[in-house]
């Protein structure tokens, strides 16, 4: 029973990280109908920037802010330079472009920082909390991870529901032509969307790095799980993405704990296949016809 509890708590933390990746994917999907395969690689790059700051004895929080800012910058540049030209082309082109970015960014990071794994500080203790007499598999750092993701989710809810910018972003995603006629600078809004999404991705990278060790490919698996989470949530709904993240985190934690840790990624594959067979548009979106 205590093993089950440990696996559950571990799953929640990882689930929060996957939820952050899924949120980033959902934001970009909603705005541009593009699945950003380079999300994980961009996050990895920002995390490396934070890591090199921390190694120069810069405080963790400054490094975190720099990582988020660099994430936003990378997102904006990527959208302006390489994504804008393929937005109106067939969807396959955008997929191939972001895949190319994925490989290129990972290779670039390998060239700059080397291929060996490095540790990344967690700031908070990673020793499990003690409740009563038992030590849980849930540390101060895990509390911080979960809180950070909740704050991000709330931030997005406020942004989309209650602000002008959020309204403009929803409008340009819903109908770019009409929004343009109404005076929304759709291009800028899309760039902003990519910047925000990549910022959340960078946060996911900084949160994941202490647990997984930092390396050029360390976000590959996290990206797959984030994708799984986004697919469960239906790629449309931020709340769905977070719930999907927790579901993915828990399922993979149980799969890893009871069946063997090397099967995580295949577990994610099976989850994606089942969800897509049963509800091809995900669980949290109303069924809509496929656009032809």
């Amino acid at each position: 029973m205590s093993r089950f509890l440990d696996l559950t708590l571990g799953g929640v933390t990882y689930g929060a990280i996957y939820a952050a990746v899924a949120l980033a994917l959902v934001l970009i999907w909603r705005a541009t109908r593009i699945l950003n395969f380079a999300q994980g690689a961009m996050a990895m790059f920002s995390t490396y920037i934070a890591s090199s700051l921390v190694e120069r004895h810069v405080s963790y929080w400054v490094a975190l802010v720099v990582a988020l800012a660099s994430g936003a910058l990378i997102g904006a540049v990527v959208e302006r330079v390489v994504v804008r030209p393929v937005e109106r082309r067939p969807p396959l082109n955008a997929v191939i472009v972001t895949l190319g970015l994925l490989v290129a960014i990972e290779a670039l990071a390998g060239i700059i920082w080397g291929g060996s794994l490095r540790s990344f500080p967690s700031y908070f203790s990673q020793v499990g909390l003690v409740v009563g007499r038992t030590r849980l598999a849930f540390s101060h750092f895990d509390v911080y991870v979960v809180c950070a993701v909740i704050v991000v989710l709330l931030g997005f809810v406020i942004l989309f529901r209650f602000t002008d910018v959020g309204l403009r972003m929803r409008a340009s995603a819903f109908s770019p032509e009409v929004s343009r006629l109404l005076g929304v600078r759709v291009g800028r809004t899309l760039t902003l969307g990519w910047a925000l999404a990549s910022m959340v991705g960078a946060l996911a990278g900084v949160l994941a790095a202490p647990k997984l060790f930092l390396g050029p490919n360390f976000m590959d698996a996290v990206f797959i799980y984030g994708f799984t989470a986004a697919v469960i949530g239906g790629l449309e709904s931020p709340l769905g993405a977070v719930i999907g993240g927790i579901v993915t985190g828990l399922s993979l934690s149980y799969v890893g704990g009871y069946l063997g840790s090397s099967l995580d990624a295949l577990g994610a594959l099976v989850i994606v296949m089942i969800v897509l067979m049963v509800r091809p548009r995900g669980i949290f979106t109303p069924i809509a016809e496929r656009r032809v």
Binding site: F37, L92, I96, G100, V103, I111, G114, F227, S262, V272
Partner: protein
Amino acid sequence: MSVAWIWRLRLPNQPMLRHLTLAISGGALLFVLTTVLSSFNDYQVAQIGVYAVALAGLTLLTGANGQISLGNGAFMAVGAYGAGLLLAHTDVPIAVALLLAVAVGAVAGVVIGIPASRLRGPYLAGMTLALAVGLPSMVTKFSSVFGGDQGLSIAPPTPPNGVDPERWLAWIVLLCVVIVLVLLGNLMRSRFGRAFRAVRDDEVAASLVGISVARTQVLAFAVSAGCAGLAGGLFGLTIGGANPDAFNVQLSISLLAGVVLGGTGSLFGVWWGAVLLVYVPQWATSVAGTLNLQTGQSSNLALLFYGVVLVVVMLAAPGGLQGGIRRLTTLFVDKVRAGIQPSLPSTEGEHT
């Protein structure tokens, strides 16, 4: 008008005849080439051939049928391990092992293709990416069968007396390439090929004329994965083994880069892609040497190149190299024909 007769030479109109003519003349040319080359270069020809088979399968899936797969590296692993296990436990001829590689690859393709036929664009890419990341872990999970991280060792084919082993390897691979290209060429020209393209262009219209969209997509997936399986088996023979590291995600994305650069959907284009996949890593090694980069950085340079190629080709020339060449030759041929014989209709581009 001394060159005019060249333009009057026409390939046979019947697809099978035309493809066989091309295959026999191309094969003969390659055969002569391998006898002139050094054994190291023969080995490279074999490598190019392996990639050509894998790319031919992927270009059929992505170019002709409009489905993307990041899992073809994983299907190669399936073929390599299938052939490797058969060769390790029995002493069947290599041809049987390669046929098995095709079969297990195709079966894996059907298994993945059935759910895949319900998915479009990015969803499909994500699912096959999960396959590429997840499948290698099977090898370590069931290490008693698959040999774990060490992998299997596959004995290289024994050549007949007096034939260089590398040359023999190149012949085996090239024979497979020629067979695959002829079969795929015919398939693309058959009603199945037309169904592939119809489904790619407009699923609703395709199903209105009686094509089963899902079945067509699964078929394309199976053919593509069968080619990948064969390429995997041949890959195992060329590197003398199969290990999980060889079939990583980067391999799958490199294959996509090869297809995109060669020109998606073009069976001639696979040669460009295959040459790229063999020579870019070499070029990267020499560049890494001159830049005094650390060891291991050369593979990063190669990957950086593939990534940039994917982005740049998609932005600048979505038709790839073969698309560019075809445009140029059509222009040129049209001009020459217009000069000699204005009434001659221009031929369609072959092997689309």
